[in-house]
């Protein structure tokens, strides 16, 4: 919007600074019809006038008693929030005057004796410059404002999309879990446990450098999907009360690769994989063991992705401390003993050490979820079954526990 150029507004203010009264009088006379004009006799009174009157343009003599023109120019340019255009006016006395004037911050330079026509046209030029500068500044403000609004809107949209994604993914995880777990609270607790462990590991130790904010955010979103592959396990096996046969167990173990593959397919459909890549790794490898005896790949130690090693501990802890139709909930102390005992065999010892430091936080999560009414999510309400049906779900022992039990035998 260039309306400021069309509408000149109040007259521009010009401050004339010269120690020669005749020069001041001549300049005032030449400019007073078109501009508001004031005069100062030396550098100090010029600085004062500039502060109080805020001129748009200063005609500044160089050789003056006291503060000379260069220093006055420097101070005018540096001490005012909105410094004026400065035209140095000098009866040349030294060869390097021009250079020094521009170094001091002057915008232009006129040589005395000054031709009045030249003075007027030069000032008109600077006036136009000031106008277009003001217009540019106004435009810039508008642009900045617009840019800020766009950024805010983009942030709002991103937050909305992210929130919908979060809820969608979490709901998907709970739907998948609902087949073999009545309450659907397992994924909610596991997510918190895994997050607590990862945060603890990010503070110190060998994994601190691998765990940044992005890792934590991805883990929080992806850990609930660890058992998504159970959708590919038939009811006869998934929901079987009691012990699985060797054959059935082999089928059960496939939920890892099924989940990993489903999520990997999803990753391939996206340019930017985001948390789904981590979700695929967790689903695939959360039943691997530190000693290489896990499944499906039999990876050893740090070959197992870190996120999957973290979820493995969180998964078993939650299974142990949860009440199941075929078992009471273990006390946290007993669950801890079991997990500690498996450090270096089933679990990454570094993660078990971190787990030992986080018991209070784990307890708090468990108690918080206990006090909550199950099935609070609308999306889960269809999964509610009568209490009497609970026997149907006796196979909800996590595979890790099932494996542990079978290996122990």
């Amino acid at each position: 919007m260039l309306h400021t150029i069309i509408h000149p507004g109040p007259a521009r203010k010009i401050l004339i600074v010269d120690d020669d009264a005749d020069v001041r009088r001549l300049f005032c006379h030449a400019l007073r019809e078109e501009y508001a004009v004031r005069a100062a006799t030396d550098g100090r009174s010029a600085l004062k006038a500039a502060r109080l009157w805020a001129p748009d343009l200063v005609l500044l003599d160089i050789l003056m008693p006291g503060l000379d023109g260069y220093e006055t120019c420097r101070r005018l340019k540096s001490s005012l929030a909105n410094p004026p255009q400065i035209i140095m006016v000098s009866a040349k006395s030294a060869a390097d005057e021009l250079t020094r004037a521009f170094q001091a911050g002057a915008d232009d330079y006129l040589i005395k004796p000054v031709d009045i026509a030249e003075l007027r046209s030069r000032i008109a030029l600077h006036s136009r410059l000031l106008e277009s500068r003001a217009a540019t500044r106004a435009l810039q403000c508008e642009l900045d404002d617009h840019h800020l609004q766009l950024k805010q809107r983009a942030a709002e949209w991103t937050a909305q999309i992210t929130a919908v994604q979060d809820v969608t993914v979490f709901t998907l995880a709970k739907v998948a879990e609902s087949r073999d777990n009545e309450t659907g609270e397992h994924v909610a607790r596991l997510r918190e446990y895994a997050q607590i462990l990862a945060k603890e590991l990010s503070r110190e130790g060998p994994y601190a450098s691998q765990i940044d904010d992005a890792f934590l955010a991805d883990l929080y979103r992806s850990s609930p999907l660890h058992d998504i592959g159970k959708v590919g396990i038939p009811d006869s096996i998934l929901l079987k009360p009691g012990r699985l046969t060797e054959e059935e167990f082999e089928i059960m173990k496939r939920h890892t690769s099924i989940g990993g593959n489903i999520l990997q397919d999803a990753v391939l459909q996206l340019n930017h994989s985001g948390f789904l890549a981590m979700a695929a790794l967790i689903a695939h490898f959360h039943h691997e063991r530190w000693d290489g005896l896990g499944y499906p790949a039999g990876l050893v130690a740090e070959e197992i992705p870190l996120a999957a090693r973290i979820v493995a501990v969180a998964d078993v802890y939650d299974a142990l401390t949860s009440k199941r139709p075929y078992k009471e909930a273990w006390t946290p102390a007993r669950a801890r003993e079991m997990i500690d005992a498996k450090a270096g065999t089933q679990f990454d010892p570094v993660i078990v050490a971190a787990f030992d430091r986080c018991l209070d936080a784990f307890d708090e999560v468990r108690r918080m979820h206990e006090s909550r009414t199950p099935l609070t999510l609308g999306a889960m309400s269809f999964a509610r079954h009568g209490e009497s049906d609970s026997a149907e779900y006796s196979a909800d022992l996590p595979c890790s526990l099932r494996l542990m039990a079978q290996l122990a035998n």
């Binding site: 020669d20 005749d22 020069v23 001549l26 030449a30 009866a91 006395s93 004796p113």
Partner: protein
């Protein structure tokens, strides 16, 4: 001193500035008196400063010859020329100043006292 030859401001075509030029011309003796004091008092840096001022002002009022002479004087002072050389340039400037006239028949500003003029020149 050839007082008969007058030099005129090149502003003669612009009546708007005539009165200003008159003020300038009337104040020239004051400038010369100040320079004379500086010269005879041996204050060469003050003489140089006044010559510099004159150089800037005179041409702006349409007296380029005076500016030229003032420039020469300023240079001589700055370069540390001999007293004789400085004096010669000072006299040359002095002569030109005495010859300076507004080209129009000078309007009567005698109603303003010279004291008022002096006060105006020295004020601010």
């Amino acid at each position: 001193m050839s007082n008969q030859a007058a030099i005129y401001s090149s502003f003669d075509a612009d009546p708007d500035f005539a009165e200003l030029v008159q003020w300038f011309v009337k104040a020239l003796p004051l400038r010369m008196r100040a320079m004379d004091r500086a010269f005879h008092g041996g204050d060469l840096s003050e003489l140089g400063r006044l010559a510099h001022q004159m150089k800037g002002a005179a041409g702006s009022y349409g007296f380029p010859q005076i500016t030229l002479a003032a420039d020469e004087l300023e240079h001589a002072v700055r370069l540390g020329d001999s007293r004789a050389a400085i004096e010669q340039r000072f006299r040359r400037l002095s002569t030109l100043c005495q010859q300076a006239r507004v080209s129009e028949p000078e309007r009567d500003i005698a109603n303003r006292s010279s004291a008022e003029l002096a006060a105006n020149f020295l004020s601010d």
